[in-house]
């Protein structure tokens, strides 16, 4: 009986440590969201810190419940968020580049200029390719 109570206590301790660490990661990411000067630097802070915090919180919850079905659901959510958060961040940052959102004034843009020149050629090509099929 005593060992069972002890196991519950240890589960609670490990779970609360995981959850407090995850909330700390999310809090740091949100402070970065408010403080950093540029949209792209903000994206870099958010997509890493927020995803890590969410994964830690969900892992702590799975440790507390200690059941197989709960573990499977939490693993599904963690896998999904770890796959989709970088994809969403990349797509939104690419859209921001095409919308010409201004960079921070101290950003080194020398190599990025050549990339943008190549990118303009790619856009012209894709426009020519896209014009014959307006059905979609």
């Amino acid at each position: 009986m005593e060992s069972l109570i002890d196991a519950l206590l240890w589960r609670e301790i490990i779970s609360s440590v995981f959850i407090l660490a995850g909330s700390g990661f999310m809090l740091i990411a949100r402070i970065g969201l408010l403080r950093l000067p540029d949209f792209y630097i903000r994206m870099s802070a958010i997509t890493k810190g927020g995803t890590m915090g969410l994964g830690l919180i969900l892992t702590g919850m799975a440790i507390y419940f200690n059941q197989p079905d709960m573990l499977v659901k939490v693993a599904v959510i963690i896998c999904f968020s770890f796959i989709t958060a970088p994809v969403a961040g990349h797509v939104i940052a690419r859209t921001a580049v095409h919308l010409k959102i201004p960079f921070w004034k101290r950003t080194d843009l020398r190599e990025f200029g050549t990339y943008m020149d190549e990118c303009k050629d790619c856009e012209n090509l894709s426009d020519e390719e896209k014009k014959p099929d307006p059905g979609i």
Partner: protein, 87 residues
């Protein structure tokens, strides 16, 4: 003690929600607001997970999984239609 740490975590996530709302209000461009919308969803998943642990009711975790699906769809569709509006 366990409940107190969970309350502290929920308090921290609520402060996160307030920060995201401030960025949503003052965000100088549209992609800032789209990102803030994505972060609202991530924050709510965290709050739902902690609330599930606090109450011991296992049904709420389905809400979190559905919410993670819809948050991804929201940000991707915003980015897609923004790209379409440029051309």
């Amino acid at each position: 003690m366990f409940a107190i740490s969970l309350y502290i975590a929920i308090f921290a996530l609520s402060i996160c929600l307030i920060m995201v709302a401030i960025r949503f209000a003052i965000g100088p461009s549209l992609p800032d607001r789209v990102t803030s919308f994505d972060l609202f969803v991530a924050n709510m998943i965290g709050i739902i997970a902690i609330f599930t642990e606090l109450t011991g009711n296992e049904d709420f975790i389905d809400v979190a999984s559905i919410l993670s699906l819809f948050g991804f769809l929201g940000s991707i569709s915003f980015a897609y239609y923004l790209m379409k509006s440029i051309r």
